[in-house]
């Protein structure tokens, strides 16, 4: 247990010193502000101990936006470094760290929480449930994710960041070639967050299977619920593989085993194999809920039922099956031979079929619809051509022989940004603009929204389109610089300018959140978009018990049906019954902290101390198993009071006002 204390805090780099100071100041600022406003108790009661799926969802989204900012700054730093040949902004080592943390943070700590956050808020409401199946477990999921994310994020100021790429390929990621502790952060922090994600997956599967409102058969579920359900199934199938792989990596790095090392009979490529056995399904885990959001948005703003609902469901299931069968396309160049490579080429191309089906369904949904160009709809419209570019270049990459040419170039980087940004980030923006009124009782400003939209989509294309051509010209990925003679300079510069426009777009979004929180009209109804699914049948923001009376579902687009037939929209006093709700608990928060501490000690290879801290985890589990708290009942009077604040007094319709 000898640790070089000089290594603990990274010193000597002005950028990092600046961040250290900024972090310190913001922590002091937040603590001071909370104390000044006397908000500690409020924070504890309303947020840290909450088991309400809506608040957990909002915390996920907040964390996701913050992490998107962090990952975005990483992206901008890389774009600045490569904007001119032979730039001296980041050195090679620093560039390695930055693309590694960028990749991990964007996928695991930005895309995932943004999607799981929206799922958390929306799914129970969409299926007419009062919470998820296991509310306290849901809080545990969040705190484990948060703990893992924070652990990963402090790496760059304490101990050093991982630097072996977001896929952490062995043998480079092993102790032999990367002796520092940076990659321990990768192994441990992702593990902790991953446990949280796995638990979320289980929770959503049970919620969707067991807690739907009366009458909502599987084939009457909203599309977002369907895609989230299938994404959860993939989570449960694929994440355990990553759990095992990361555990083996931890054993290799911290306890001296030889699973993936070059010496001692290890098999370095086995890591790559296991990583992508999880990694490819993972991209479908993030893209499927996003597809579901686009489906809701497109149906709502075309004023039409989703075209080809059944074929949508079948293609989602098909995508899920195929997603487990394509992983080798990430390492065709390992050279596993013509049989292996051809099989995986074909399975990969086959995924284009169900995806294409979905594309046409969206287009046909819009056909002859009365399209309303709201900001949410604009994101969905821009998604289609942009994602198409990502998809077509994906089919190019799927040809294993051709991949030997594209592999490891910026062509690939452009490809996956063309799938992940339209497929996930556009979707999250669409979802946020669409569900914001449901979450907060006011809309995001549409005018700012449109500025945000145009800056972001234009910036996105200007940033990544040149990278296709750079890649075809031979520019390799993960390279911190290039020479003037290479001729890459003009396209790199265009790309860097695009990144600035992109950043301005994101800044507009942040400003929009602020502006709307302060000035937006609170006089919106529970259903400002004239939408189709059940989440719009209750108040905005939804009361903590979600529905005073759970609606009965007769058809697809249940709320639309209720509105058209004027059924079930009113609430009479004798329909109100006591509601049973789960109690808050501090245990998930405690578990997050103790996991974080244990993880931190493990990262620094202080094994004994980590073991002692791990006892705290066991204690948490024991406390939980003796917890017989069965929740509490909301009284009829309280429900009446809440419902009266948004329903009009004669019991018909709603007031145009939210509490």
């Amino acid at each position: 247990m000898d640790i070089n204390w000089h290594d603990l805090f990274i010193v000597g780099n002005p950028l990092i010193l600046g961040s250290q100071i900024a972090i310190l100041l913001s922590v002091i600022g937040i603590v001071a502000l909370l104390t000044y406003l006397k908000r500690w108790k409020w924070l504890w009661r309303e947020w840290l101990t909450t088991v309400d799926h809506k608040k957990i969802g909002i915390m996920y989204i907040l964390a996701g936006v913050l992490m998107f900012f962090r990952g975005g700054v990483d992206g901008l730093m890389m774009k600045a470094q490569t904007s001119r040949p032979e730039m001296n902004f980041l050195d090679a080592q620093h560039y390695n760290e930055v693309f590694t943390t960028h990749g991990v943070i964007m996928i695991l700590f930005a895309a995932m929480p943004l999607l799981i956050g929206i799922m958390n808020y929306v799914i129970p409401l969409q299926i007419g449930a009062r919470d998820v199946a296991f509310p306290q477990l849901n809080a545990l999921s969040f705190w484990l994710f948060f703990s893992g994310a924070m652990l990963f994020n402090i790496s760059f100021v304490i101990g050093g960041s991982p630097d072996a790429g977001w896929a952490a390929y062995f043998p480079l990621a092993g102790k032999e070639f990367t002796p520092g502790i940076g990659n321990n952060y990768y192994a441990v922090a992702i593990q902790i967050a991953g446990i949280g994600t796995l638990i979320s997956g289980i929770n959503f599967i049970v919620t969707i299977l067991k807690m739907r409102a009366k009458g909502m058969t599987l084939m009457k579920m909203p599309m977002f619920t369907w895609t989230s359900f299938i994404a959860s199934v993939i989570i449960v199938s694929a994440f355990p593989i990553f759990t095992v792989a990361l555990a083996l990596m931890t054993l290799d790095r911290i306890f001296g085993t030889h699973f993936f090392t070059l010496s001692g009979g290890g098999m370095d490529m086995m890591w790559v194999n296991l990583f992508w056995l999880w990694g490819h399904p993972e991209v479908y885990i993030v893209v499927l809920p996003a597809f579901g959001m686009f489906s809701e948005v497109i149906a709502t703003f075309s004023r039409k039922m989703l075209f080809g609902y059944k074929s949508m469901v079948f293609s989602v299931v098909g995508i899920a099956l195929l997603s487990m069968l394509v992983w080798v396309h990430h390492f065709f160049t390992m050279g596993a031979g013509p049989a292996v490579n051809s099989v995986f080429s074909i399975t990969t191309m086959m995924i284009a079929i169900p995806t294409g089906v979905k594309m046409f369904n969206w287009l046909f949904t819009m056909r002859k619809g009365r399209i309303e160009f709201s900001t949410a709809m604009l994101w969905a419209l821009a998604f289609i051509p942009c994602f198409l570019i990502g998809g077509i270049t994906g089919v190019m990459l799927a040809m294993s022989a051709a991949d030997y040419q594209y592999h490891n170039t910026l062509f690939l980087v452009a490809h996956f940004h063309y799938t992940l940004i339209p497929g996930v980030v556009f979707a999250v923006f669409a979802g946020l603009y669409y569900w914001w009124p449901k979450m907060f009782g006011h809309m995001l400003n549409e005018k700012l929204g449109k500025i945000h939209f145009w800056l972001f989509t234009i910036g996105f294309n200007v940033t990544f389109m040149p990278m296709f051509f750079l890649g075809l010209d031979g520019a390799v990925r993960r390279s911190y610089t290039y020479s003037a003679e290479s001729g890459f300079a003009p396209l790199f510069l265009v790309s860097a300018i695009g990144a600035v426009i992109l950043a301005l777009g994101f800044a507009t979004f942040c400003y929009n959140i602020y502006w709307s929180a302060r000035y937006a009209d609170r006089n919106i109804s529970n259903d400002p978009w004239n939408a189709r699914t059940l989440e719009w049948a209750t108040a905005s923001p939804a009361p903590f018990y979600n529905f005073a009376k759970v609606p009965e579902v007769k058809t697809l687009d249940a709320f639309w049906y209720m509105k058209k037939h004027n059924e079930g929209l009113t609430l009479s006093d004798d329909e109100i019954k006591e509601i049973h709700m789960p109690s808050n608990s501090g245990l998930p928060f405690y578990m997050g902290i103790i996991f974080g501490i244990t993880g931190f000690l493990l990262v620094f290879e202080w094994k004994l101390a980590a073991l002692v801290a791990a006892v705290g985890i066991i204690i948490g589990l024991i406390i939980r198993s003796f917890d017989y708290n069965d929740g509490f009942h909301v009284t009829v009077d309280e429900i009446k009071e809440t419902e009266k604040s948004w329903r009009s007094s004669d019991g018909k319709g709603v007031k145009n006002h939210v509490g």
Partner: protein, 97 residues
């Protein structure tokens, strides 16, 4: 399902102890004996399968067949994932041999 009791969870504790025994047994065979390589692989492979079965019954409520179809679907999908991950990995990592 049984009624909710606050009694001592005998099967769980038993399952837990047996899992530990099987795991450390495998570790012992692999690290502390000098049997031939193939024998070791066969022994620890069998121990793994026994343990998987044990856990399915002791912890995963396999025998509480309240919802038959759901159980069947779960077992089939779990089996598929296992086949893809194990057989797939062997096939790929042996370069298609």
């Amino acid at each position: 399902m049984e009624k909710h009791k606050n009694g001592f969870p005998v099967t769980h504790v038993l399952g837990f102890i047996m899992s530990l025994v099987l795991t450390f047994g495998a570790l012992g065979v692999a690290l502390k004996t000098s049997l031939p390589f193939t024998t070791i692989i066969w022994i620890i492979g069998s121990l793994a399968i026994i343990q998987a079965a044990l856990q399915l019954y002791m912890f995963m409520h396999m025998n509480e067949g309240e919802d038959g179809t759901a159980n069947t679907i779960n077992v089939i999908s779990g089996f598929l994932v296992a086949v893809v991950a194990v057989a797939g990995s062997i096939w790929v990592m042996s370069f298609g041999m």
